[in-house]
Amino acid sequence: MKKVLKGARVLDPSQKIDGIKDILIVDGHIADIKEEIEISGAEVIDLSGKIVTPGLIDIHAHFREPGYEYKEDIESGSMSAAAGGFTAVACMPNTNPPLDNSALIEYVDMAQAGAVAFSDDGKPVASSSLMRKAMVYAAMFDKVIIDHCEDPTLFEGGQINEGRVSTLLGLAGIPKAAEEIMVARDILLAKEMQTPVHIAHISTKGSVELLRWAKREGVRATCEVTPHHLTLTEEAVLGFDTNAKVNPPLRTQEDIDALLEGLKDGTIDAIATDHAPHHFDEKDLEFDKAAFGMVGLETALGVILTKVVEEKDIPINTVIEKMTIGPAKVLGLELGTLKIGVPADITVIDINKEWTVDKDKFFSKGRNTPFHGFKLKGKAVMTIVDGKVTYSEI
């Protein structure tokens, strides 16, 4: 089976490729990238005017299986990922039962190799001693700990960012220090033990500064940021909108500015969705009873291209790096690249496609998005995994 993707702007930050090229796929693998590939008998897909990137990787999503299939399952989650342009997704283990033994991981069958990392997402490890042991033990197998940083004693009952909006709405606040204390702790543990650590979904200016310091010190600390923390402030909660209730909470413009700066200067390694589908009934409740989290797989790319690339002037190469080779490096995986010989995981983007987010058209079972009705520009229009088209609007 041969396929030629023709005439697109190929953008592969892992090889610093950015130009109009053709891509040859043979038996599900990248066989060649150059200008003007002419092969007889190959299926030709004309992608002129489009952008082709390595398949997007989401390092942080919740597919809810096993245990919570009413929120999402591997099939609906995978369809949602494909529609959003993602070809690989790391699923968080806060399922029921939790994905904490190999039988369950085999059941999930996410990657041939099994777990790609270990995480406490959704239930932060309060004990510094336990975290230190986990980091050291995981490092023995070249695996990274992905830490959800939040001091549970400071979080206590919190609903939204502590500040103007929490005061106005009378909702319990979550201080920024709840996150930053744990970020600092993990960095110091990683520094001392010389192990890697990955900080999930950072949301504050202080976290960016701590990670910048860590990298300067040579600590093997990496981090990710979500599209919603890059684009929405605590104001999104006004009117008690439970779709804007997320953990860590939406913060302030000052934090957004720092996160954007962190993206630009390389402090932040990856953009991750923290795709967290919930059933309608778990969000349509009094604010403090509603679940934390929002879906993100189908909106991530459009939100980033519109609100970060177009409106904030961050180069498209930078954000594609953070959605491809960036997360691949964090996990130490041979993904996120169009190098000759690798499986052909590819995302095709129409940078000019204007569309309106409609939660009722999501492939995900989750409808919980604060982006419903947003007018966006830029979308994944074709997703290819192992050379096979898994999603197409072309």
């Binding site: 103007r164 005061t167 709405l169 009378g170 909702l171 409740l285 604010f287 403090d288």
Partner: protein
Amino acid sequence: MLSKKHLLGLEDVQKSDIELILKTAESFKEIMDRDVKKVPTLRGKSIVNLFYEPSTRTRTSFELAGKYLSADTINFTSSASSVRKGETLKDTAKTLEMMGVDAIVIRHSSSGAAKYLSRHVTASVINAGDGTHEHPTQALLDMLTVKEKKGTLSGLKVAIFGDILHSRVARSNIFGFTKMGSEVYVAGPSTLMPPNIEEMGAKPVKTIEEAIEGADVVMALRIQLERQQKGLFPTIREYAKFFGLNKDKLALAKPNAILLHPGPVNRGIELTSEVIDGSQSVINQQVKSGVAVRMAVLYHLIGGSRK
């Protein structure tokens, strides 16, 4: 008629609506002094008091307000209802609505519960206290009491002190009094002061003495004694010493200043008995204003036919 269908908080109520409610309430007070305390204004209308938190004065006040206006009022308390069987607020509200109620008065422990309810019913929703968010009829009755004593609500210095962080009464009063042109000073233990309170229009100060100095209106808040167990202040005794009001501290206010408290009072903690029962206290008048204000709110929200 008011410009809005619901009364969810004073944040989004216009000054002209506040003035209308207070003016109407003043005239309704007269009904309360009659032998036969009943006018037919809301005959044929039905009101449900949906109370998810214990309350005596607010619930009784709403119930009497409805009854004085000839509405049918029903009390629904969460301890004796299908809520105990796990029914959600949304389903309870829809059920009540199908029975044809015109107004739902809700008291709930979740901030935003009244707003949430208003999205799910077509009846008028009146917030009788939602979590630590707002308690608009309390602020309206406070303003009515002040207006009667001071003749105006503009140009006054209002001091509110105590647990501002957890107080829906403080929030509604800050919105209400600043809208009417008064200055609101707030003070309390630093652990019980919310961040960015100045952005709501209040002026935070460090001591209650500073807040009370030269004030026209002094408003104490109820301190929930269980806050002490959470480490928000060291002892009740220390709270009373620094944040309790006695005669000497009240003397810092203007000589004709009035003292309010939303009740029920912890005697000897936030207020000493001498100031509660003293000549400046209007705590009992507040209760009467409460019924009048709630009559006015009900009248303006469900009186007459709405298109």
